[in-house]
Symmetry: C2
Amino acid sequence: MGSRDGSGVSTGGQDYAADIDSIREAQARITPHVHRTPVLSSTSIDAVAGKQLFFKCECFQKAGAFKIRGASNSIFALDDEQASKGVVTHSSGNHAAAVALAAKLRGIPAHIVIPKNAPACKVDNVRRYGGNIIWSDVSIESRESVCKRVQEETGAVLVHPFNNKYTISGQGTVSLELLEQVPEIDTIIVPISGGGLISGVALAAKAINPSIRILAAEPKGADDSAQSKAAGKIITLPSTNTIADGLRAFLGDLTWPVVRDLVDDIIVVDDNAIVDAMKMCYEILKVAVEPSGAIGLAAVMSDEFKQSSAWHESSKIGIIVSGGNVDLGVLWESLYKR
Amino acid sequence: MGSRDGSGVSTGGQDYAADIDSIREAQARITPHVHRTPVLSSTSIDAVAGKQLFFKCECFQKAGAFKIRGASNSIFALDDEQASKGVVTHSSGNHAAAVALAAKLRGIPAHIVIPKNAPACKVDNVRRYGGNIIWSDVSIESRESVCKRVQEETGAVLVHPFNNKYTISGQGTVSLELLEQVPEIDTIIVPISGGGLISGVALAAKAINPSIRILAAEPKGADDSAQSKAAGKIITLPSTNTIADGLRAFLGDLTWPVVRDLVDDIIVVDDNAIVDAMKMCYEILKVAVEPSGAIGLAAVMSDEFKQSSAWHESSKIGIIVSGGNVDLGVLWESLYKR
């Protein structure tokens, strides 16, 4: 666990890609376009967890995930000339739908490069919002090269899923909202992948209250962030293997410094724990949560967390339930056929 | 459709089992014990419905349904001597869990008579809250006779699922909340079964704004209320046949006068439409909704509603999503195996 005296969490001495001002600007920019999502709680789950939990339900966000915050901040920040050429991104999932929706709201074209193995419900979302789907192979190289070709052909602006000031600032608004809704929260648990969400959440939360603990939750089959924290530098993996289809990206050069400095610890959980958490979300919270969205609850329930000093020091824990886009059949198969 | 000039909706001239005062008293009594549930909306669903819809999500209520409102109002209204002997009810579902939980909160025993065909997740809920389960046969006669025996043996007070002033007043608090959250609502659609929920909702809403339209949604296989409205007297059915396991009861002598006078119309939908609505709730709203809870959305989407004058006169429609207790396997089977 990182230092708890606050000295290590000042954001004043270091230049990060975003800060509380850019996050407040993002909030003003995107408020007309996004939902203020509710915070749910359950005494039944609290009794099992031994802590008071506050679920920030971004699964109820437009397009079913927090991604619309970063996407709409990026797209509405474009000047009219830039915007007129449209936007492009590559994503297997929630960022794709979010860019399609934000572009639709702005009235500009969105070209979405999607790998062939993307979950059906996430592809449906892109279609629902009128995104122009361009298929690529599964490899990140294929996705990037197709994306680059579209950029060259159309002049569209790339909306990066995480390694971008506007994306990070947009995602940070979830933290502003949560702390308005439940100011007494002392710990926030955030899924980590490319690091856009947790960077925004940490920058906003620590600016408001430097003593707030920020914990990342990461799947064991894609634990590059935990390895990066341990090594003190960005580590990438040759491959990933996890049910959490939204958590397979690696940190970028803009998100890594924030994760390095402001994330107090990373809790690694296996897929079985993620499925248990999805089941609990469905059966008790009555919320459809995708694997990546359930990982925060999985982390709270983990032995690793319960044996940490953070567990003893935490009392009121915010959990970012990042998204709800899960095919019902997949949920059913993973919950009851394992 | 009933008269829309307001003259038919005054609650002043008639003595009903509850009124705005008893409902406000209920709100004061139960607020420490229940959730203030969020209201969700979805532009995707609005686009399909052609109206602005506001989903009052009682599926997120304690014990997964609105029933805790009436049960806790009934149980916390008991004096200490009455309460000390405990409470009893017969219910196949959400009322059972609600009585068990409310009794637990009050610290008194709850005896719950459950028919052998009750959904597993609802029985689990009763167990989770420490209710003393007593099995009965499926018939209403068996349930009532077992319940009566428990009353005689223990002196426990019967908490009726709908035909009771305190139950109706408690359920009415959902309407107070919804109109605080979205004051501009002009129509509320409410599932109807024994009539406790819709009576409370109608009494509160029409007292606050007499021009609010109250529509009931009822399954075709248990359409006793629609038949009762048409006949001008309580009609009961020899049997019922619907997936909506929470909507198989018939009106009582306290709920009938409210339904007769204050419910503007009843929209009858078939099970297929209910399943379509559950699917939409799951896939777009990201909410686990039981069949009885999805029927309001099914009604909004129905041809019957779209061809009515109420459709043309409605603009902002509140939908009471009454509960979320549905076995995932049942949801999966009904959605994708039909």
